[in-house]
């Protein structure tokens, strides 16, 4: 039974399982607003023990750290260990009104995020499609192609530090040879962000491709075949039928990558520490520096909470879009 057919099948309204399309059904108000629905749980006895460990573990892992950060951000923590005086929201006020570096790092974070996401999603789709084709040597190729994502980001950073070196590195040799000039890459505030976009795209496109390939391979065959027999060309099939079917996977990949991209840290930490002159300082790097270099843990916590809120907002937006696409 194809997925699409299932989507249209509303006739099973009488059973306990509503089709994925969110229909109002027996007191359950549409796409669950998070309201505790006893009926749901009673109908699906045995669900709770399957879910509970994950919830409990997550709570155990994040509640204390987040609470700790919130407390830090509203006090004036001293390195000697005392929490200092209550600061209320003064750190947040300072961050928003008196700290141009906060806004700069926010801007850099967002530029990096959008450019990387777009590049990695598009290239990932292309590569993922390539990987999904059943040709001899596919699995070896897939394993090999994953290597950039497998290498520890520390090693990636140090390796590309050498590659990007304007004098002894390979990048300028290549671009010079191709007539594209010899940029200073990491040493120029105007090119450093793009250097990271290139580096990050190289590193993470295979990751996206892996997810997309698995998704493409598990797409139901019927809708695609049907479109082809209807006379649609390969591009049309992919665009009109394949992509919409793939949308849930794409959204997940975008969501997961977004959550990591907004917190861009590792390679910058290793390669430029946020320089030159703060031109590669993302919000995460800034928070780290304020906390671990300047030892101002309270303000660092403020910045980290701000970053968390940013991620929640963006991730929330993506999941909301996901919900909407499911309802359709």
């Amino acid at each position: 039974m194809s997925a699409q057919a299932a989507v249209h099948d509303m006739s099973s309204a009488q059973t306990v399982l509503a089709p994925r399309a969110g229909t109002a059904e027996r007191g359950r108000a549409g796409p669950g607003k998070g309201r505790w629905d006893r009926n749901k749980w009673r109908r699906n006895k045995g669900a709770l023990p399957l879910l509970a460990p994950a919830i409990v573990l997550t709570a155990a892992l994040i509640i204390f750290p987040i609470a700790y950060a919130i407390v830090l951000s509203v006090t004036n923590w001293q390195p000697s260990g005392t929490l200092g005086s209550f600061a209320g929201l003064s750190h947040y006020a300072h961050m928003l009104a008196h700290d141009p570096l906060f806004w700069d790092s926010l801007r850099i974070t967002l530029i990096l995020y959008i450019c990387c996401l777009v590049a990695q999603t598009l290239l990932g789709l292309a590569l993922g499609y390539l990987l999904s084709l059943d040709v001899p040597g596919r699995s070896i190729f897939q394993a090999l192609i994953l290597v950039p994502s497998i290498i520890a980001s520390v090693a990636v950073g140090l390796m590309w530090l050498l590659i990007y070196d304007p004098t002894i590195g390979v990048a300028d040799w290549i671009t010079g040879g191709l007539g594209l000039g010899r940029p200073a890459w990491l040493g120029d505030p105007h090119t450093v962000v793009w250097a990271f976009v290139l580096l990050d795209t190289w590193e993470w496109t295979p990751f996206m491709a892996l997810i997309f390939a698995a998704g493409i391979r598990s797409l139901p065959r019927e809708p695609l075949e049907a479109a082809r027999t209807d006379g649609a060309g390969p591009w049309q099939t992919a665009w009109r039928v394949g992509l919409p079917l793939l949308r849930p996977i794409i959204v997940i990949a975008v969501l997961l990558r977004s959550v990591d991209l907004i917190r861009f840290f590792d390679t910058i930490y290793v390669m430029t520490q946020g320089g030159p002159v703060n031109s590669s300082t993302t919000l995460n790097i800034y928070g780290y520096r304020i906390g671990f270099t300047d030892l101002n843990m309270s303000y660092a916590a403020t910045l980290q909470i701000a970053l968390l809120i940013l991620v929640i907002v963006i991730a929330g937006g993506i999941t909301w879009l996901r919900r909407r696409s499911q309802v359709e």
Partner: protein
């Protein structure tokens, strides 16, 4: 099926726990924190540590104390040490500290265990330890807030390495003044047709002030005035910034604002730079047999004098004890051993510049200075030890921020985005809240 779930979880938990236990069982000498007669040290990965580590088993045999050392790169070790100290954890006893950078901050936070009572107690520290044998400016840098917070383990300072063959080829001599240095750089650039960078120096903002200091001081300026205010509003400051930015920026490799010793030494060792402005420690980088193309062609000189004279900067790392250490006695034994005259001599024979004056005069050590470069190197070090200014940057509690203020402003001059005058004003403004009442004593 309930039992299956339970079985599944149990299987996973058992597997994981047994993996962990296996790992622990197969592990080294017992558990890390250990009982008595153990010392836990976190050290930074630098030549000193690499030279010391092979001797640790000797120490363990001598004293019966088990040593657990963790060595990390600078950024990493700093983070680990900081987290441990902040949490007041007893898990770390000894750590390596850079007093000129974090000294004031850590002392203010109470992280250091003062060592005065250990040093002055003849039962803990016999006279043979020769505490007075350390160079005085170095000991002074380890005295913060009236307490001795660490024992120096090495000494270094910014100098200029140069290519003896290229200098001969281009007909230039070792510069005696800053203006001569600039002139030499100009000649190298012209005569090499742009193929050789006159000088590879530090442009990375946090690393820059260390090598910038002497340029500032050689204009006749201290970091702070007598009233504790920054001296970047004096005319010499603009000159210093301009000289440094021109030298390292204009006559340096492209992209220099992201460079620190890693890139500079790589360039110099590859033969692509005629000079390198960096720490004396870099001698091991540029003379490493597998990495250097320029062995036998290297010389070194102190940063030339400016209108205000010659005032080199001296820096030292130290071994400190954590106030929350669980094994304070053992920690002192370890520190004492690593900094004892005997150990320091052994390390010096391996190329570590010792903070003990007697060591550099020791004939065995002198014998290792068997190349012209090594002899010159010791000479410039002697100058640094004797006259060096231990204030690597304007002293403040938030020293890292101070360094960044200076570094960012000079970087902007190097990038051509602002004038030296504007940079000086920017630094002056940026430093004021950090030094003086904010920082200071």
């Amino acid at each position: 099926m309930r039992p299956r779930i339970i079985a599944g979880y149990t299987a996973v938990l058992l597997t994981t726990a047994s993996l962990a236990a296996c790992g622990a069982g197969a592990g080294g000498a017992g558990t890390a924190a250990g009982g008595a007669k153990t010392v836990n040290a976190v050290l930074e990965n630098q030549p000193f540590t690499r030279a010391l580590t092979p001797y640790i088993p000797e120490f363990e045999k001598q004293t019966g104390i088990t040593v657990n050392v963790q060595t990390y790169s600078e950024q990493q070790s700093r983070q680990k040490i900081l987290v441990t100290l902040q949490s007041h954890s007893p898990a770390m006893d000894v750590f390596m500290s850079l007093p000129s950078l974090e000294g004031k901050e850590y002392a203010k936070a109470g992280y250091y265990q003062p060592l005065d009572s250990y040093v002055s107690n003849p039962k803990l520290t016999p006279a043979s330890y020769q505490f007075s044998g350390f160079s005085k400016p170095l000991l002074d840098s380890e005295r913060i807030g009236g307490h001795l917070i660490g024992i120096p383990i090495n000494v270094e300072g910014p100098v200029i390495f140069y290519r003896t063959d290229l200098f001969r080829q281009y007909g230039i001599s070792v510069p005696r003044t800053l203006s001569q240095l600039l002139a030499d750089a100009k000649i190298i650039k012209a005569k090499s047709g742009g193929k050789i960078y006159p000088i590879a120096g530090r442009g990375l903002d946090s690393a820059l002030p260390y090598t910038f200091g002497p340029f500032f001081h050689n204009e006749g300026l201290q970091w702070l005035s007598s009233s504790g205010q920054p001296n970047f509003d004096k005319p010499g400051a603009v000159q210093a910034i301009s000289t440094y930015a021109t030298l390292v920026g204009k006559y340096g490799p492209p992209g220099v604002v992201n460079n620190s010793f890693t890139q500079s030494s790589a360039l110099f060792a590859q033969g692509k730079a005629a000079m390198e402005l960096d720490s004396t420690n870099e001698i091991s980088s540029i003379t490493a047999p597998g990495s250097s193309q320029v062995l036998g062609k290297i010389g070194v000189f102190n940063i030339p004098a400016g209108p205000g004279g010659s005032h080199p900067t001296v820096l030292n790392w130290g071994l400190s004890m954590s106030r929350y250490a669980a094994h304070k006695k053992e920690a002192w034994e370890f520190i004492k051993w690593a900094t004892s005259p005997q150990m320091q001599l052994k390390l010096a024979l391996k190329g570590i510049a010792s903070p003990r004056i007697a060591v550099s005069k020791n004939p065995k050590y002198q014998a290792t200075l068997n190349t012209p470069l090594r002899k010159q190197w010791q000479q410039v070090l002697n100058v640094i030890i004797a006259t060096g200014n231990p204030q690597v940057g304007p002293p403040a509690v938030n020293e890292p921020e101070v360094r960044k203020v200076i570094g960012d402003a000079v970087d902007q001059v190097m990038l051509g985005e602002e004038s030296a005058a504007k940079a000086a004003a920017q630094i002056q403004q940026g430093l004021r809240p950090l030094v003086g009442t904010g920082g200071g004593a």
